[in-house]
Amino acid sequence: MPARRILITGVANFWGANLARALLADADVEQVVGIDTRTPPADVAAAVTLVDADLRTPELRTLIRASAVDTVVHADVPQFPEPGRAVRQLHEVTVMGTLQLLAASADLPTLRTLVVRGSAAIYGSEPGAPAFFTEDMAARGFDGRATRFQRDMGELEKLVEGFARRRPDVTCTVLRCQPVIGSTLQTPITQLLRSPVVPVTLGFDPRVQVLHETDSIDVLQHAVHHPLAGAVNVAGPGAISLSAAIRRMGRRALPIPHPLFGAVAGAGSRLGLPPMSEDTVRYLRFGRGVATERMTGELGFTPRYDTRAAIGAVADELRAAR
């Protein structure tokens, strides 16, 4: 196997930075190029070839050509606001950023592998949804119930499909990850699970499914080495009811009637609770489960933690940290 040259977008975020660390430790990886407008952690900044650029700059094409990478990992797909990615930028970064990145990579002759950190939010959270979505069930035409992020994910996957058609020599993998939880990761969902009271919808106890943060890095690394054409669900197998998850985390549920949920969540965000997107609100009401057979079978990735174990591990990590 020739030495690998890998480009990572969003190298300053949790997934980009940790994936860069993991790949740099791989023997066959020659160079990691990181693109981000933000500064990654010092050790990552020192070890990767850093390109301080926005995915939407016209120079991107020249920059990517010069890098002569064989793999592009698109990790700059923020579901939630993060430092340097404000709420109103999310759509722009996800859709326009992906569009530009793929356009710039289209005539890169050395490219063989594309890995995109997608999201299982593409399926939405619906009361009558199948208990375990399989990869062929992502809606094609999104109706009025779809959230902004859900539509963005649909658009992103369409862009990747188009790219895969134009470049049959490149294996394009989209990882549809369930919400990632962990003791170091900062997302509204991890912050919610850490807050002393967790707002839940009165009378609803949805089945939730999560992915442990170490598995979310491992799966990206795995896909770089063993890509699989198409979309793959990524989650800790199994599912757990939200109430059982909250109990395992040692937290208390604060039931709020659905019509008041938006108002209470809004007030909560002023009191230090994380702001909740429409996706999160629907996830907390109806939950979501995905089938993981394609992940364990065709992709050949077995997460270290199933959903129940992931919740337990995070609960223990947080308890130890206190």
Binding site: A131, F132, T201, L202, G203, F204, R207, A244, R247, F286
Partner: protein, 275 residues
């Protein structure tokens, strides 16, 4: 039952589930509600169940799709069939439930913990492939919401999706006839405007509802019979037969006719509807 036991059960009902599976089915929850269901089964509706020898038992657990007629405005028939199965072969049946129920607070949670799942063919297929007993009402909302004047007349079985699923999963279909469920809430009219407003699939008017308010939600104490028929073995067709529309509709019609005949047979055996 002692007060302590009752409180213990209440605690199980209200607390987070401990032993649930990936579908959200929680056997502890089922055990906690069972005494209440037993009272309805034995005292209120005085149910006679026959044909239990046709149900596959749990050593080893094998798959089967149970298809029953649906009636009575409120789906008590599902809970009573589940009770009959639990008593006879000790297995928790997984019911395919109208999607709308999962939009309801509390009910959605209780249904899921009791083993109910949204009525999607994907769910049905996966449950069967995991060797569960699955209960389906092929008439769907059409059966449960029909007026009292049409009692014991089975509605259409849609496009026979349940047969398709059974063929694909290579599961036998066990037809099941229920008598008594029609009389629990005799629907004399409907309020479609209000139903639309509440986003409910239907809103019934019965002799007691909404006239008596919440009391109208109490089902009438009719006498019930439940009969499980001999399994319809589909293994001769093979899973690819699921794509054969004509075969699917033929099988679906045959099963519908068998359930209809068994419903009439049990109506005669039952004698009095209430006494």
């Amino acid at each position: 039952m002692t007060l302590g036991q009752t409180l213990g059960r209440l605690r199980t009902l209200l607390s987070a589930p401990a032993g649930e599976d990936a579908w959200g089915h929680d056997p502890a929850f089922v055990r906690a509600v069972q005494p209440a269901l037993d009272v309805l089964y034995d005292r209120w509706w005085r149910i006679t169940a026959t044909g239990a020898e046709h149900l596959p038992d749990s050593n080893p657990p094998t798959r089967a799709l149970i298809a029953a007629n649906h009636a009575g405005v409120v789906p008590w028939d599902g809970a009573m069939i589940a009770t009959a199965i639990r008593r006879n072969v000790g297995r928790d049946v997984r019911s395919l439930v109208l999607d709308w129920a999962f939009e309801l607070p509390w009910a959605s949670t209780a249904i899921r913990r009791s083993g109910g799942v949204p009525a999607s063919p994907h769910n049905a297929l996966r449950l069967l492939e995991e060797d569960h007993l699955v209960l389906v009402f092929p008439e769907g909302a059409k059966g449960i919401s029909k007026p009292y004047s049409e009692r014991y007349r089975l509605q259409r079985f849609g496009r026979g999706g349940f047969v398709e699923t059974a063929l694909r999963a290579q599961a036998p279909i066990i037809p099941c006839a229920v008598v008594g469920s029609e009389e629990i809430h005799p629907k004399i009219a409907e309020a479609p405007g209000l139903a639309k407003l509440l986003r409910a699939p239907y809103l019934p008017i019965t002799p007691t509802f909404p006239l008596l308010g919440p009391l109208g939600a109490v089902p009438l104490p009719s006498r019930w019979r439940i009969e499980f028929c001999a399994p319809v073995d589909l293994s001769a067709y093979g899973p690819d037969a699921a794509a054969d529309r004509r075969l699917v509709l033929e099988l679906s019609d045959a099963i519908r006719e068998q359930i209809q005949a068994k419903v009439f047979e049990n109506l005669i055996k039952r004698e009095g509807a209430f006494l």
